[in-house]
């Protein structure tokens, strides 16, 4: 019966904030149950597979071993895979940051009544299925697509430029997909910087550019770092966009895992690479959260 007591809201004297927070925590139980069933248990199962050697299609040996991991880290091919995936992530992050910074500054500072419309437009790409979004790029970036047609008719190029089915295409797709995350993160952090700080700086003789470098950027830095880590970890773990926009010619960690698991049925190797990617992304996410929090405190 004590459980009933905990859930009633009529308690005249709630003991302490911590206690009442503990009471609300019960509401998380259904979600936690579902996540455990469909997410955590399969992950444990997958993780377990990485500690066995593969013995033919879809089967693993019984004994536990670390040889999969040893193989991964002693083969330069895997290092290259990890390296290239990270380079792609870094490039995507830089492009996203460069595009998002001015836009976020505008969104954070504008008093226009269209502001909520602008914000909706920013979030809109997130509401569309990633497959549809990528397919949408084909008529624009393809060999006979809009961009090439414009370039050819303007006489800027002689032959069609390859904008898709290569690393560039993957980058364009990822930047497009991840831009909203960066914009939302940066807008939130810039909004917390009082406009009077910029006015104070300008009235003290600093030009707007100097004000941006000396005041806005340092104060927005925690948010910038958090946004970059978020975009970076999302782009190195992305599967659909590299698969569709790379046309099978761009191999990153996620597409490599897919190849191992569905094509070669080497579950052990797929699981090993998955676990390495998972650890790498989780570590980045934790650091990103830390930075996001320290930004909230200033």
């Amino acid at each position: 019966m004590s459980g009933d007591d905990d859930l009633t809201g009529t308690d005249p004297a709630p003991a302490s904030p911590a206690a009442s927070r503990g009471r609300w925590a019960y509401l998380l139980l259904p979600a936690l149950g579902v996540l455990t069933l469909v997410f955590l248990l399969p992950m444990i199962n997958l993780g377990a597979k990485s500690f066995h050697l593969s013995v033919g299609a879809g089967r693993e040996a019984a004994e536990y071993t670390l040889r999969n991991y040893v193989a991964f880290f002693s083969d330069s091919l895997y290092w290259e895979l990890l390296g290239w995936t990270s380079v792609l992530g870094a490039l995507v992050t830089l492009c996203t940051l460069a595009l998002a910074l001015p836009l976020s500054y505008f969104l954070a500072r504008t008093r226009s009544r269209w502001r909520s419309v602008f914000l909706l437009l920013v979030v809109a790409p997130m509401l569309i299925s990633v497959v549809i979004r990528n397919l949408g790029w084909l008529p624009i970036l393809g060999e006979h697509g809009l961009v090439n047609w414009l370039l050819l008719s303007a006489g800027a190029v002689r032959d069609p430029v390859h904008l898709i089915n290569n690393l560039l295409g993957v980058m364009i797709g990822l930047v497009h997909a991840l831009l909203p995350f960066m914009i939302l993160t940066l807008t939130a952090v810039i909004q917390r910087i009082a406009p009077e700080l910029e006015e104070a700086s300008v009235s003290l003789g600093a030009r707007p550019i100097a004000t941006f470098w000396r005041i806005v950027l340092p104060l927005a830095l925690p948010g910038i770092v958090a946004g970059c880590l978020l975009v970076f970890s999302l782009s190195i773990s992305a599967y659909t966009t590299p698969a569709l926009m790379g046309g099978g010619r761009v191999i990153v960690m996620a597409t490599y895992i897919q190849q191992q698991v569905s094509t070669l049925l080497d579950y052990a190797k797929g699981a090993t690479v998955s676990m390495i990617l998972l650890v790498w992304v989780s570590a980045l996410s934790i650091v990103a959260l830390r930075f996001g929090k320290s930004g909230a405190e200033t």
């Binding site: 009077e196 006015e199 104070a200 700086s201 300008v202 009235s203 003290l204 600093a206 104060l219």
Partner: protein, 369 residues
């Protein structure tokens, strides 16, 4: 030379006229206060001098040059904000040095002048602290040091004391005035607090609906308000409707003295000084007299019999509300140590003619929207 001149300045926000053909001169080394309720246009004026807003018409001159189209970073103004606006990621010393650094001054000079400015506001010991580690009063002193260290042509103070508690406010009023007078900085001060305006300023401009109603020294503003709004906004005032009966005599100060009767009690006759020189016989005017200038005592020139309605004690003084007739009531301030009449008692109240001011009824009722 660093006087500030606003000439016929107008600023509109859409259809709303925030500042309406306003002209004002702040002389070199002078502290002029823009006093008004919110929406009176006082902050808009300040922001046009700072350069954050551009006037729709008119000109702003700072130190003899037309600054109307200059960006804020070229105006050499020092601004102090209500919410301090200290840079949270910089130390106190770095905050103060900011304006000098962006001017590209040599390191040694930056260091010396920063220390000098911190000494001026007695904060040299806190120079390595971050703004978050300071109290409200300390923050505003840092902001003041940061604003004056660049030797601004004009110091702009935008309600700098409003975020502070009452006691600190008084302390900082003195501090700001001391620094301002010591450096001789031309200063424009914006506040809605009439007490602050009276105690700190060389001159006060009372603003309403984007216009200056009266620009005068604090004493003149208090003793000779030129309209009902000013009389009401600055301090407490009693208003009585009177009818002019004719000229009495000229006073020593040159103002004309008139004989008048109460509108609702023609039997009661009194003398009063006019702020203008042309009141017609039979004209209805407004007489205003400050509560502390009203005496509860018989035997004076023109005692008015009134019934005590309410007596309120506030430590150093009593507020005595008296009612004469249905439309005539008066508040009298009596020193706290004095004896006060009790409620319901009929008392004679009076005041000296020079303490009463005559305002034109049309001036009084010209309440713009």
């Amino acid at each position: 030379m660093s006087e500030v001149i606003l000439r016929n300045v107008t600023k509109k926000f859409g259809e709303y006229v925030a500042v309406d053909r306003l002209s004002l001169t702040v002389r070199e080394g002078e502290l002029v206060t823009l006093l008004g309720a919110s929406g009176s246009g006082k902050s808009t004026c300040l922001r046009m001098v700072a350069g954050f807003l551009r006037p729709d018409a008119g000109h702003v001159f700072i130190g003899g040059t037309d600054a109307t189209r200059l960006p804020p970073y070229r105006r050499n103004t020092g601004m102090v904000f209500q919410q301090y606006a200290l840079f949270p990621h910089l130390t106190v010393a770095e905050n103060v040095a900011y304006g000098l650094k962006v001017r590209g001054l040599p390191k040694q000079e930056v260091k010396e002048r920063t220390l000098e400015a911190l000494n001026l506001v007695h904060l040299e010991t806190l120079s390595e602290r971050r703004p978050a580690q300071l109290s409200g009063g300390q923050k505003q002193r840092v902001a003041l040091a940061r604003a004056v260290v660049i030797r601004p042509s004009v110091l702009l103070l935008d309600e700098p004391l409003s975020a502070l508690d009452l006691k600190l406010r008084g302390e900082l009023q003195g501090e700001i005035r001391r620094v301002q007078q010591r450096l001789g900085t031309t200063t424009l001060f914006v506040t809605h607090d009439q007490g602050e305006a009276l105690s700190m300023s060389d001159r006060v401009a009372v603003m309403r609906d984007g216009r200056i109603l009266q620009l005068d020294t604090p004493v003149a503003l208090y003793q000779k308000p030129n309209c009902r709004y000013v009389a009401n906004f600055v301090g407490m005032t009693n208003f009585l409707d009177v009818v002019i009966r004719g000229r009495a005599s000229s006073t020593r100060s040159g103002a004309s003295r008139y004989r008048a009767t109460l509108l609702f009690d023609p039997a009661f006759e009194l003398d009063v000084d006019g702020v203008e020189d042309s009141y017609a016989e039979g004209e209805t005017c407004l007489l205003c007299v400050r509560p502390e200038n009203v005496r509860i005592a018989g035997g004076a020139l023109n005692p008015l019999l009134a019934v005590v309605n309410k007596v309120t004690f506030s430590g150093d003084r009593w507020y005595v509300d008296c009612v004469h007739s249905r439309d005539t009531s008066l508040v009298v301030i009596v020193p706290g140590s004095d004896r006060v009449p009790s409620t319901g008692e009929t008392v004679p109240v009076s005041w000296a003619p020079e303490h009463a001011v005559l305002l034109r009824a049309e001036t009084a009722s010209r309440a713009p929207r």
